[in-house]
Amino acid sequence: MENSSTSTLGVGILGAGPVTQAIHLPTLSRIRDVFHVAKVMDVDPKIAESVAGRVGAGWTTSMDELLADESVQIVVVCSPHQFHAEQVIAACRAGKQAILCEKPFAMSQAEAEQIAAVSQETGVPIIVGAMHTFDPGWLAAKEHWGDLVQTAHTIRYSIVLPPNPRFEDFATEVITRPESQPRDRRDPEVAAGMVRGGIMGLAIHDLPLVRAFCPDFTDLHVLSCEVPDPSGYLLNLRIGDRNVQVFGINTQSWEPEWIFEAIGDDAALRIDFTPSYVQAGSATATISRGGKSEVYGPYPFNGYEAEWRFLADLAKGKAQPLDVTELIHDLTFALEVADTASAAVRATTAPKATTAPQKEASV
């Protein structure tokens, strides 16, 4: 059990579901010299009390109460997506030192712009929980990839995702999980929903990485969109002059894969990320050119820990706040991919005889 301390930053958590239990609390336990959990809020009092009890924190079912608590300096928003914008804005208005919002940080461009305006007005820095953008493997690649952003012509982003509990259960003992409903991917509306949900729930993690290699990211065309069995998405995109494939498949397998590639005529980057939830170290980045390969990582900590360390630096004024405009661009890019791809799959998925229904999952 941890004790609140005036020497470390107090964290208040909005929403105490699996992400809080399996990601943020285990990560914070690795950096106790910087943070302590001061208060946990969840609409379910039993969950709030139970999760807070794990770390010796106070608990509440009221967001207002948490935000009014002066022992809370940092707020992390882990509630369902539809509450993110409202809660981030409230945390800014409460004068907290910094905010971490789980992805996506809003569900529309209008919401995102509202958040940006409030962040600017109040001076409260915000980061979004896109952990791979903080991963030491990605940052090392960024430092060494030279002109690859200008020269890459092909982007590949592939995730093979086993059920989340397989990893959550190694990270913690989860006390509650959202229910997954069986769905039939051959129904056009279900297929469209799967693609949109898959992009905004899973692919969104690394769409900022894709965008980094697509300077003309607003010039986006969906060339094809398919839903693999049992669920997921396979998108071929043209973004500016870049050829992009985004693939994700939910399986019941034990074998995870999470790869990002950017390939040009003379240089190529491949990043192999570790699975979500578990503290399995950083990604490994390989840059190949001229018959040689440079390998960076794996480093001893992953993007979750890196994002928290960055948050601490923000709160202490040691790091420059992220450009909120970039966060808005990341969000609007993801929304555009999700909307156009789901529309494409709705238009091309012909209703067929129902097969065995399948479950959909996201991280």
């Binding site: 398919e226 399986t251 397998s253 003379d266 190949s288």
Partner: protein, 264 residues
């Protein structure tokens, strides 16, 4: 006892198919000859290759190796070869790699109308995309099954992305990426809810082994590695067929693949 068969190869065929290296590695089965009427003839698949093949048969060849053929009308050649029992083997970059045959039964166990096959090729900058696709289609045919239909999502100087349906009804995503940053290679993968098969292949210029990984609830198994180039495996097959006086179906399969590959 193995019958040694003479081999003739043009410089073009040798350059594309490493014929001399293959013969050197099969010295009991094959022997290079300058004679006009060798038993086996290697022909580069450049335009006009079918005429060259018909000429070789007329000169008494017992078997032909066509190396990386371009699309062509093969009807006359097929008819003549079938009539005379002359095997015409098509040698493309990956299809004969022994790892392909090792992977085939495992792909077959997953291949149904709910399956998605991912196929990717990394090829050199400037490669002829039609030839790349022909080699990829031959690989898919050998490892999984024939492609029945194909539509490009994108095709440009950097490669292509295509969507296809296999004869089994499985969907397939075919990609080619042109780059000099990483070695040429090919990969096939089929992922099912609990099981998967992955095949990765080096270019035909090396005997580095293709790798077949079969995974399921019990774990993943890497099948035994076979250190043989696809060219050598193709020649072993041609020797066996010619020795038996047995024609083969490579030309028919090639014609079907070529019909898909020709730019529409």
């Amino acid at each position: 006892m193995t019958q040694q068969l003479t081999v003739t190869s043009s410089p073009e065929a040798d350059a594309k198919g490493d014929v001399h290296q293959v013969v050197a590695s099969l010295p009991v089965s094959l022997h290079l000859s300058d004679a006009e009427a060798s038993a086996l003839v290697a022909i580069a698949g450049t335009p006009g290759w079918t005429e060259s093949a018909l000429g070789a048969i007329a000169s008494g060849a017992r078997g032909l190796m066509i190396i990386e053929p371009c699309a062509a009308d093969v009807a006359s050649l097929k008819k003549r070869a079938d009539t005379l029992g002359v095997p015409v083997v098509i040698d493309t970059e990956w299809a004969h790699n022994p790892a392909v045959a090792a992977a085939a039964p495992h792909f077959a166990s997953l291949d149904d109308e709910n399956s998605l096959l991912e196929a990717r090729v990394n090829a050199r900058v400037g490669a002829d995309l039609e030839q790349v696709l022909l080699a990829q289609l031959a690989l898919i045919r050998a490892a999984v099954g024939p492609v029945a239909s194909l539509t490009y999502a994108r095709r440009n100087r950097h490669g292509y992305d295509a969507l296809a349906t296999l004869v089994s009804g499985a969907r397939a995503s075919l990609a080619a990426i042109l780059t000099d940053a990483i070695p040429g290679s090919a990969a096939l993968r089929m992922i099912k809810p609990k099981t998967a098969v992955t095949l990765t292949l080096p270019g035909a210029g090396t005997a580095a082994p293709g790798k077949v990984t079969v995974s399921g609830p019990e774990g993943a198994t890497l099948l035994p590695t076979l250190w043989e180039t696809s060219h050598r495996a193709a020649w072993r097959r041609l020797h066996t067929l010619a020795d038996a006086g047995q024609a083969c179906e490579d030309l028919a399969a090639f014609a079907d693949d070529a019909a898909l590959a020709v730019e529409r």
